[in-house]
Subunit: 410 residues, 2 copies
């Protein structure tokens, strides 16, 4: 089987530091009392105005911070990202919008920047008003705690039911200059294609024009955050934001070409690393699953089938139970709304060919069970009708998923 995973190509190498790895970024994460005891307020600031782009939830029900940030980023510039966890400020009406604006204004005032330069994000319970006294305290604390080593604290402060922080950093070379890209994210539940409940904040010191930055972000989101699913629900609050402050002083990337491609490779690697971390830390997850679709007529078809299989409750419970029920895999593919020939389709669990040309390959059940007992599982469908491929990532559906979600607000 061909390898679908993107290897870190080009000049990119892993490095510590997260969103404060790139030059000129500081961050902080503090506790202001929105959550009982854990950090709940994060701030990321660029010392210089940065190009900025965002991708937002496709849900018709958009939380107030999403609406405010969409508007603020229309300019293509930003200086800061402020985020709270513990309260989503979603379904909160006019007051919610005012509160989100006040978060931006509070940060802007202390940093002596313009409120429109501040992106606002919230995650947590839907439908409750933000406690603005605590938010004010959060802003004060976050600004005074800003640090060039603050990425880890910020990564901590945006979590909800996540079990671990999600932080990535890469250094590389563009146009002969050392550059870097860093990111933090939160995920956990309500994770589904076309923006999960997911906040992802990415920073870079690369010099790039707003239109190219946006293009690179959309491409990388389509291959990363839009290819993961935990439970099929799309949240009201999702956003992925990238800020590029240009302090690496590379020649401005303002068109397609080798520099743009190199930046895209790095950005894609950061985004897909964060996306996979989100799935691995999915609510109740015990296993990480890559669903690869090969031999498709188009990338869109491959993506659609990969996502549908990755979304299937029946596939995900079977994986939890290490049950090589390949019929469920093929049946899920069959309801993706994509035209293919089940009779030509091969299905692999790990390296075991469990279905050949749409029927049982008379495979070794013990081998398949062993592959499903691993922590990392690969499911491959080869449609054998074309040359296009895509991957989606998911986790298993477990008792703990039910437990976590049966009593979230209480």
């Amino acid at each position: 089987m061909t390898e679908l995973k993107y290897e870190v190509q080009g000049s990119w190498q892993s490095a510590p530091g997260g969103v404060t790895l790139p030059r000129g970024f500081q961050a902080s994460g503090v506790h202001c009392g929105i959550k009982k005891s854990r950090p709940d307020f994060a701030l990321i600031v660029s010392e210089k105005q940065a190009q900025a782009a965002g991708v937002f939830t496709s849900n018709l029900v958009k939380a107030a911070p999403v609406l405010v940030t969409m508007e603020h980023l229309e300019s293509g510039f930003a200086r800061a990202i402020v985020a709270n966890s513990g309260n989503a400020n979603a379904c909160t009406g006019e007051k919610g919008l005012k509160d989100a604006e006040m978060m931006a204004e509070g940060v802007a005032s202390l940093l002596a920047i313009c409120p429109q330069e501040v992106a606002v994000a919230s995650t947590g319970v839907i439908g409750k008003a933000l406690p603005m006294d605590k938010v004010s305290e959060g802003i004060r604390l976050a600004v005074s705690n800003l640090s060039p080593k603050g990425s880890g604290d910020a990564a901590q402060a945006i979590l909800t039911t996540d079990r671990s922080t999600k932080e990535v950093g890469l250094t590389g070379s563009i146009g002969g200059r050392n550059v870097s890209i860093g990111g933090i994210a939160k995920g956990s539940g309500m994770i589904h294609p076309n923006m999960a409940t997911m906040l992802a904040f990415i920073t870079t010191d690369v010099a790039i024009a707003p239109i190219m930055l946006r293009k690179a972000l959309v491409q990388s989101v389509n291959e990363s955050f839009n290819m993961i699913t935990v439970d099929g629900d799309t949240s009201t609050n999702d956003m992925a934001i990238v800020m590029a402050n240009g302090l690496a002083a590379n020649a401005l990337i303002d068109e397609e070409g080798p520099d743009f491609d190199e930046f895209c490779r790095g950005l894609r690697e950061v985004a897909s690393s964060l996306a996979k971390m989100i799935v691995k830390d999915g609510e109740g997850a015990t296993k990480f699953v890559e669903v690869r679709v090969q031999g498709a007529s188009s990338v869109e078809d491959a993506r659609c089938i990969a996502r549908t299989v990755a979304s299937s409750n029946l596939v995900k419970t079977a994986i939890f139970g290490a049950d090589p029920n390949w019929g469920r895999i093929l049946a899920a593919a069959g309801r993706a709304g994509v035209n293919f020939h089940p009779d030509l389709t091969d299905v692999y669990i790990g390296d075991v060919l469990v279905a050949c040309s749409g029927k049982s390959g008379g495979f070794d059940e013990d081998c398949a069970r062993k592959a499903l007992a691993e922590k990392n599982i690969e499911i491959t469908l080869n449609l054998n009708i074309g040359n296009e491929a895509a991957s989606a990532w998911t986790c298993d559906l477990t008792y703990d998923y039910v437990k976590i979600n049966a009593s979230y607000t209480s």
Copy 2:
């Protein structure tokens, strides 16, 4: 709030007898060894050739019996329905098709009818060959056990992980003649709109032309089986079949009018009763949930939102935990792909207005929790933008759903 439930209207009244309630139908359910010890083989026979219509899974991966029955019913006529449980005869290639044909031929030969007059259905594990020696024995036993009181046995023999049989009977009056409609079904897992894993066999002694029978079936399926969801997965084997043998001797229904409407009311009641039984008996279900959408611009919009909310894992786990997390309800509606105004939308849990104009109604949480602790739960969304309405039915997502599905083949 207006009442969306369909009351049994017109002349229809509940009656025992299931598929053998209408004149001229016999049925049987036997054990032939496909399953270890429970009944696994069912037969329904009309003493006279009947008009017949079917609706089949929308999954691209269609099981062999689905393909065979689609072809057999093209004529618009049938005499018998034969079904086995324990093996889906899906993803079984050419041999599967031959086996499904042999099931029809075996029945036809013993009943001295034409194989094309036999509809074939299977449900159970995907991807394993039907044990044809056992099937042959099943055919022999089923034919010799045919009885005018055999509906209960047939209802038993089509079950898989179902906990209880699903059987309905109605008597009514059309054109001055006493008529009846009966049905049996199996459901349980892989239940989702546009045909669940679901077999539904409906019989009637009404005289009706094939084209009108088909029309009535499609309408009633759209309002019943296509509005239920257990886990979002569409099966390879679903079918709903109706046979009408005309023995009630009413004036043939061959056009729209009062007689057709009366028949549709009865058929819809049979189909929606069976559909609701399937949901109540959903895998691991502890609660039955009706999601009503009112005030929509179109019935299609209302259906789409109702189904999306009913499909949400997050809504279903919150209901399991009696957690009045209305934000999840509104968020699920928001990803239905339908245009509406979240800011105008009211959400009720039972009679409790939990969200008014898209934000918290400052409701009594204890009352909402109490409503969610019931066995039967009603969730209502009023979009306040039109006059159309629809309902979908689902169940909660529980530990037992995970348990049942983590090890189905083993």
